[in-house]
């Protein structure tokens, strides 16, 4: 079950694609992640992650219209596949299950 395990950054990208739907493409994903997390993200990392997600079948893409801003090149829009949605929900469910297991005492950190 190789496809079901996704990394932290991959998950972030996948979520952003969902959030930007249907306008998710390289630059917008990059800018969105940067805005949300405050990390500086490079295009190549985003593309590399998108490539991996696509290989795992979590996203699919279609080419958009050409715009002058990109020197006449078309945008590649990404959409989450149903498998991608499933993976995301599973991941969320797993986390929430674990969250629920954490006793309250564990978060009472003594600051002194």
């Amino acid at each position: 079950m190789k496809g079901t395990n996704i990394g932290e950054f991959e998950e972030l990208v996948l979520l952003t694609i969902g959030a930007l739907h249907p306008q998710a493409y390289g630059v917008s994903i990059k800018n969105e992640i940067a805005a949300f997390t405050g990390r500086s993200v490079t295009l190549s990392t985003v593309h590399s992650a998108l490539n991996r997600l696509e290989n795992k079948g979590l996203v699919t893409n279609h080419m958009g219209e050409a715009t002058g801003k990109r020197g006449g090149k078309r945008k590649k829009y990404f959409i989450i596949t149903s498998f991608g949605v499933k993976t995301l929900t599973e991941a969320r469910a797993q986390r929430e299950a674990i969250w629920n297991l954490i006793p309250d005492a564990a978060f009472k950190v003594n600051l002194t």
């Binding site: 390289g26 295009l43 190549s44 490539n51 801003k69 090149k73 078309r74």
Partner: protein, 874 residues
């Protein structure tokens, strides 16, 4: 935010991206990057954005984005295939491959020699810190309207004026080459060779460094000397030399520095450096009139400049021109033009006299370069010739390749590769040959030996490799182009392409060129050998047999003379300043008293025994008489000088007076017959024998020729008894003469060797062509034989074409080499051989003979073959 002008990202970066990126991804990635780029431009400005774009492109060099490489694998497979077929074809045609490899190897060995020689010469003087900012001032001297003579030296005045007046010079140093002599410390005496150098020596010539002492002050004060490490150990042994006092030519010097040994590839070398101030003080004492600071005092002083960064040598040259204009006005009949010479063009450089150290004439270098190029071209011609000839046989292979789908480029590279494999194999043999002939080459001429060591370095081997690949390309280019052009249908039909016939003619032209060159070389070798023999046997006007010249090296002449006179086999003993006929000589300006005429008079200081010993013929007057004291009173001149001063007869000259410029007034007491004083290639000079009993460098012995070996031993032991440890340096006069004319010997050795090589190569080529012709015409010959042709007529038929080529080659080469020697090489020489039929045609005959034997051996074999056998195997 997205307003304003639209910007395109760096084009080179985009191209780079497109080059490495997968085609499926490239549109999206490029688009995203471009969008990002425009955001960057608004945020950071164009410059930073471009930089960031580049960075972003480079970040995409990740496995997911990079193209998969497929093409290279097919390329390596094809390369392997070319390699395999090349090796097979070389192995199949063993004879032709051997001819090619041997020819190339022989000529390449000569080229390797040349490469190592040239690369070593060009490494000269590069060890200084700023070699391109260092310049030397040289001079061109012109007397009246004569041809200006180049001198490596300049006057001290030029150096001083440059220092004082001309801007743009960071530092300059004045050197003088007359700092040599015996250095004594306590009881030890060692002879040193060195230079007088002014204080900035180590600043200008920064490649010379001090191991001990301060480079800035070492040559500052009077009576200081800097010794090289090696010289210091010779004098002081292991003891510390710094601060010690040594005596050089009875002047005390304090050692203020120990210098590192000057590198071999420096045109300046020294064992000791004396401070220039000392020398200047000496000069000031010697001549109160300030003669040494004269503009015309060019001979032994050298000026080196370190220009400021950014100073154009042209601006310094302009100042020099202005200076010479001013100074030349002050002098009569004589003009001196100083010129700036870059340090890097000294070695090799123009031919100059009065060199400070080693020198290598760049014209010699270019001559050698041209000769070796000719040799390698000859070998390349062989390859081209034989390959094109054999193209006929390989056309089927090419046809099949083309039908299977090979394109022109692939066929081309296959044949180039074959040529390169041949030339690399030749290189291996050539390197062996290189080691064999290297010692011979170094011994050819003292100048070569002085200037180079030819040690094989890795860089040198890299040059060799590059050179051999280049030779392969050169030799293989024409056949490769020709063969790759063949049409597959023609090639398979075995019909030669339309161009092949014209190429047959080109091949003939190449053979003719090869043989013309071989002929020129062999004729040149013969002529220069004759000239050498002639020069050595020339009647010089005095006797040279059984005369032993011993170098005095500062040992007291009287003591040595007494010791030698005691030996019974020594018939006569005479002392002299210099030896006649060895190419150099000292001269001075003289005038005849009561006459306006002046002349340059060459002179030699001798004692009263010299003229009888050398058997000079006195035409009038008498020989010198033994006389104590250093005052000079008399002179014996030659006939040439008489004519110069319009004195009718030798006896009329007696008791006239000759005034030496800056010298004494001398009475003519005798006249000798003309003889060769400098060397035979030049006219006889005005000459005078001057009498001295102290200024002698040589002691000449007339020996009884009966038992020379024993006599030599006795002379040497007599020398050792009086010379306090000085080495015995003696040479027979005629041997010394021979070495003077060694330039002719050098020419004939080099040219003779090249002749040998080009002849071998040309003969190899001829052999290849003869074999090929015989093979391809085998069937024709057989048919002719069956129809009744005699063997002799068949040989004639086959050989006729080659004989024609040889004849044309001779027609080209003979007049050309006659012209070369008659009007170029020997035209300056006064005493020379006349070039006759023997000189010109002995070489031609020799080559014809070799060529004929080569052709005949092959054609005879073919003519003798059994026609039934050849025709049956159809």
């Amino acid at each position: 935010m997205h307003q304003g002008k639209y910007h395109t990202p760096p084009i080179l970066a985009q191209r780079f991206l497109r080059w490495f990126c997968k085609p499926a991804l490239v549109e999206d990635i490029a688009g995203d990057l471009e969008e990002d780029f425009n955001d960057f431009v608004t945020d950071y400005g164009l410059g930073r954005a471009r930089y960031k774009y580049w960075l972003a492109v480079i970040r995409f060099l990740k496995p997911f984005a990079i193209k998969k490489i497929h093409i290279t694998t097919t390329q390596t497979i094809m390369f392997k295939n070319y390699f395999k077929t090349s090796i097979r074809s070389i192995a199949r045609n063993r004879l032709f491959s051997a001819i090619n490899i041997i020819g190339l190897a022989i000529s390449m060995s000569v080229c390797l020699l040349m490469i190592s020689f040239i690369s070593e010469l060009f490494s000269y003087d590069k060890f200084h810190e700023n070699p391109d900012r260092i310049h030397r001032v040289i001079s061109y001297e012109q007397f009246l309207q004569n041809e200006p003579q180049g001198v490596a030296a300049t006057s001290i005045l030029t150096g001083k004026r440059l220092q004082a007046e001309v801007p743009g010079i960071e530092a300059s140093v004045i050197l003088n080459r007359r700092f040599a002599g015996d250095a004594s410390f306590q009881n030890k005496t060692v002879s040193l060779k060195g230079l007088w150098a002014s204080k900035s020596f180590f600043e200008v010539l920064s490649g010379f460094t001090l191991l001990q002492g301060n480079a800035e002050t070492a040559l500052l004060s009077p009576n200081s000397v800097v010794l090289t490490e090696e010289a210091a150990t010779r004098i002081f042994g292991t003891a510390n030399a710094m601060g010690q006092t040594i005596e050089i030519r009875s002047i005390p010097f304090t050692v203020t520095g120990i210098a590192k040994q000057p590198p071999f590839n420096s045109h300046i070398s020294f064992e000791a450096l004396g401070s220039m101030v000392t020398y200047e003080n000496m000069l000031k004492q010697r001549s109160k009139s300030g003669n040494w600071l004269k503009w015309t005092n060019v001979g032994n002083d050298y000026v080196y400049l370190l220009l400021d960064e950014g100073t154009e040598p042209g601006s310094i040259q302009a100042s020099l021109d202005k200076m010479s204009e001013e100074e030349n006005l002050k002098i009569d009949r004589f003009k001196i033009y100083p010129e700036l010479q870059a340090l890097t063009s000294i070695m090799p450089g123009p031919a100059l006299s009065n060199n400070i150290g080693k020198s290598m004439d760049s014209s010699i270098l270019s001559t050698l370069f041209i000769l070796t190029t000719i040799v390698i071209l000859c070998a390349a011609f062989n390859y081209t010739n034989l390959s094109v000839a054999r193209a006929f046989k390989r056309s089927k292979e090419i046809g099949v390749r083309k039908v299977v789908g090979a394109n022109k480029g692939q066929i081309f590279w296959q044949f180039i590769l074959e040529a390169i494999i041949i030339s690399l194999t030749a290189l291996c043999i050539a390197i062996l040959l290189f080691y064999l002939i290297r010692p011979e080459f170094l011994n050819i001429d003292p100048m070569v030996q002085q200037a180079t060591k030819m040690i094989a370095t890795p860089a040198l081997f890299a040059y060799f490799l590059v050179f051999s690949v280049f030779v392969g390309l050169m030799a293989g280019f024409f056949p490769a182009v020709h063969l790759s052009k063949l049409k597959s249908t023609n090639a398979l039909k075995n019909a030669p392409g339309s161009g092949l016939l014209s190429r047959m003619n080109m091949r003939k032209v190449l053979v003719v060129i090869q043989f013309s060159l071989s002929l020129i070389f062999i004729i040149s070798a013969t002529i220069s050998f004759k000239q050498y023999k002639y020069a050595v046997a020339f009647d010089l006007g005095y006797n040279t047999e059984n005369i032993l010249s011993v170098r005095l090296q500062g040992v007291d002449p009287t003591k040595v003379a007494t010791a030698f006179e005691a030996i019974p086999a020594v018939n006569q003993v005479a002392r002299s300043f210099d030896l006649n006929g060895l190419g150099n000589g000292d001269r001075t300006r003289v005038t005849l008293e009561n006459s306006a005429d002046s002349a340059y008079l060459y002179y030699n200081f001798v004692d009263e025994n010299f003229i009888p010993l050398m058997e000079h013929k006195l035409l009038a007057g008498a020989n010198f008489e033994s006389r104590p004291g250093s005052r000079e009173e008399s002179i014996i001149i030659n006939e040439r000088t008489l004519r110069k001063f319009n004195i009718e007869s030798p006896s009329a000259a007696i008791d006239q007076y000759i005034q030496l410029i800056r010298g004494p007034r001398l009475r003519i007491i005798g006249v000798v017959e003309d003889f060769v004083y400098t060397d035979i290639s030049r006219n006889i000079h005005h000459f005078g024998f001057r009498y001295s009993n102290s200024r002698h460098n040589y002691i000449n012995l007339k020996l009884n020729p009966s038992d020379l070996v024993r006599t030599m031993e006795r002379v040497e032991s007599a020398w050792n008894a009086v010379a306090d440890g000085k080495e015995f340096q003696a040479e027979f006069y005629d041997q010394k003469l021979q070495s003077t004319y060694s330039q002719y010997a050098t020419i004939y050795t080099i040219v003779g060797f090249l002749a040998f090589i080009t002849i071998s190569i040309a003969v190899l080529g001829l052999l290849g062509m003869a074999i090929y012709t015989a093979e391809t015409r085998l069937k024709e010959i057989s048919v002719r034989k069956i129809l009744g042709a005699s063997e002799a007529s068949l040989v004639k038929l086959l050989a006729r074409g080659f004989i024609w080529m040889l004849a044309i080659a001779a027609l080209i080469a003979v007049p050309l080499s006659y012209y070369l020697f008659d009007s170029v090489v020997l035209s300056e020489s006064v005493n020379r051989i006349s070039i006759g039929i023997t000189e010109l045609f002995s070489g031609v005959l020799f080559i014809f003979l070799i060529g004929f034997v080569t052709i005949a051996s092959q054609t005879w074999k073919t003519a003798k073959s059994n026609p039934a056998q050849t025709l049956r195997s159809e």
